[in-house]
Symmetry: C2
Subunit: 406 residues, 2 copies
């Protein structure tokens, strides 16, 4: 008997009818002879509604209390799903994160899973039950409720799959799988049958927000295959794995994009040790994520330092950076909030010449100016004018012939 | 430093504004130098809304899952109240029933508290925190969530007061205290300054639904005084206690009533051992509460057996009783669903003659016919025509001069 872990997102359990429909899918997996563990998110907009309620009372609620509050959303959907399975004649039990043994650190609102004590889940499975686990939450050694941050239910699901030795972790969502590009921009975009963990990580981090990156990392480390598929259709979805077929493939898998990029350039920075950290440490302390960082070659020990942040963080970031720029005698501190980024992603690109050139030429043929370039093992990213992002995605999708099946 | 336990019902925490207002009351108790533990119910109609959600999915939801679902309501209000206290500058922490160490049996939806492990509550109090406990819920030895039944938050509060050695358990609700009769029926009804546990128990059981009877029992057994007062006004409320002043008082304390009574009479029952149990055991198995039972003196070994049930249980009760009546050769099985009951309650009534006579004559002066009479140590109850109940309450309130202060 195989063990599978399934995860259903908030849109899949948004109301009573959807919950009943999901129950039928779970029952079908059980009928195929599997042991089934299901992780659920909160119903529809529940989490936002609870946050709104908290802010009616406290404009700056404590993380600890907010975690307890938000954790109730997933508990509600888990019990309702267990009830729905019962009406279909299946034995099911809901477990909170704490009951499922999800132990985390005490970093409220963004806790990390330290380990899983799967005893209770295993006992319920052995009794023949379908086990429904409330996602997104865990418990500290001091028995305090924590949450894992946005998208944390994905992490719950993969971590449970790892801990239980499941054959596969199935992430059911409102898209058919992972596409070669956003199908709203590129009508020819295809759903991929399979891809590597690294590729998925780059896609998830770089704009294809289908799955939580931490969940993908966890799958990669522990080698648990992850299927991303729709909870509304019967399409086969995308299997993310690290199998042999990954190694030999050598092409661009998909195009990611993100219109939400702002750039800060500190002009005329003295090029000496400690300058970078004098800028980036205060930004980190202000909880501002810095993405791409580029430092030009220095001339006469003077250089320019450019980096990108999310648009919503730009004003706060400028407040942090401006006084520092002054104190290090930088010449100027400039910003641009109308940028976006576009990336090509594929295993083994850097071992094969020509991808970067093909990307730059495809953009240049459209007259799109590249402002910054960064690369990783399996990704090449260009920062461009926000207004040209969609056009760039279409051009790149075509240039790398992604509309054709592999 | 005194320790007090306060409990606030659902109407006291119905929305963000009310929660803020309650927080100010709690802060005031803290400012007086007390350690404060607060038990809260779910906000307003939350429990009913969650039940409704469950029934949209399963017309007969499992008790275990329903308990998990309903327990989230009190968790939500406890976190919001902790947030509200924080905005006032007070250190507060919310704890679920499980975190507060409320251990129960596994009788889901009506669990009994087996004991309380107050370690966590005590530790948080010692840190100077106001501790907010989610009422109505506990946890079994198998770490399953249970609920204590309707009104269970009262029981949580008194049990915590017992376990922590609190000087008083304050139950804040939407009434000013315990009245000599329902003030909607008797405008002259007064709020009592104090009363005994037994008197409160009779009042609570016999129609004055201000407090959960189990909570009063617990207070009595462990000698914890219980103050019932309004969360919306500053009236002093009613102190329920077992102090010396109780012993010497010797009069009627209040009038209770209940319009929801149905009567079943099994006519011509052979008067032999085992007949009563042959009727009442099947009723108990069908989960039907039987209240008053009266058996007339038998003539030629034939008697009539009369008992009352809640109106809502009458049809089910008749279905149980009719075949039994046939099998024991009873002559007839009759019912009346248009009854109510009215009771006078007061410590030591049975040691003092004249109360019963005064009650019967007050009813007879109004031309109200008495169908059944039952008594306890501190209560005399008459079953009468439902249509005359309100009139009876007013007549008795007057006959026993309850409008005059003690």
């Amino acid at each position: 008997m195989a063990l599978i872990v399934q995860k259903y997102g908030g849109s899949s359990v948004a109301d009573a009818e959807k919950i009943k429909s999901i129950a039928r899918r779970i029952a079908a997996a059980r009928d195929e002879g599997n042991q089934v563990v299901v992780v659920v998110s909160a119903m529809g907009d529940t989490t936002d509604e609870l946050i709104n309620l908290a802010y009616q009372i406290d404009s700056c609620p404590s993380d600890r209390e907010l975690d307890v509050l938000l954790s109730t959303g997933e508990i509600v959907s888990s019990t309702l799903l267990a009830m729905a399975l019962k009406t279909l004649g299946y034995a099911a039990i809901s477990l909170s994160g704490a009951q499922a043994g999800i132990r985390t650190d005490a970093a409220h609102s963004r806790a990390r899973i330290l380990g899983i004590d799967p005893g209770r889940v295993v006992r319920e499975l052995e009794k023949g039950k379908i086990v429904i686990v409330a996602g997104f939450q865990g418990i500290t050694d001091e028995m305090d409720i924590t949450t894992l941050g946005r998208g944390g239910s994905d992490t719950t699901a993969v971590a449970l799959a790892v801990s239980l030795g499941a054959g596969v972790c199935q992430i059911y969502t409102d898209v058919d799988g992972i596409y070669t590009a956003d199908p709203r921009l590129v009508p020819e975009a295809r759903s991929l049958d399979e891809m590597g963990y690294e590729e998925m990580l780059e896609l998830a981090t770089y704009g294809a927000r289908v799955m939580h990156p931490r969940a993908v990392e966890l799958g990669e480390i522990y080698k648990v295959p992850i299927l991303v598929a729709s909870s509304f259709t019967d399409s086969s979805g995308t299997l993310i794995h690290g199998g042999a077929s990954m190694e030999i493939r050598n092409k661009v898998t998909g195009i990611a994009h993100d219109p939400n990029v702002a750039k800060i350039t500190v002009v005329g920075v003295p090029d000496r040790p400690g300058i970078a950290s004098s800028i980036f440490e205060p930004l980190a302390k202000a909880d501002i994520s810095v993405d791409t960082i580029v430092q030009n070659a220095s001339i006469h020990n003077i250089t320019d330092l450019t980096f990108t942040v999310a648009k919503s963080d730009l004003d706060r970031a400028m407040e942090v950076v401006r006084p520092i720029a002054g104190s290090i005698n930088a010449r100027q501190c400039a910003s641009d909030s109308k940028l976006g980024k576009v990336s090509i992603i594929g295993t083994g690109m850097q071992n094969t010449p020509g991808y970067a050139a093909r990307m730059f030429s495809a953009l240049s043929e459209q007259g799109i100016n590249i402002q910054l370039i960064t690369t990783s093992e399996i990704r090449i990213t260009c920062i461009i004018d926000e207004a040209r992002v969609e056009e760039a995605v279409r051009a790149l999708h075509k240039a790398f012939e992604l509309e054709q099946a592999e």
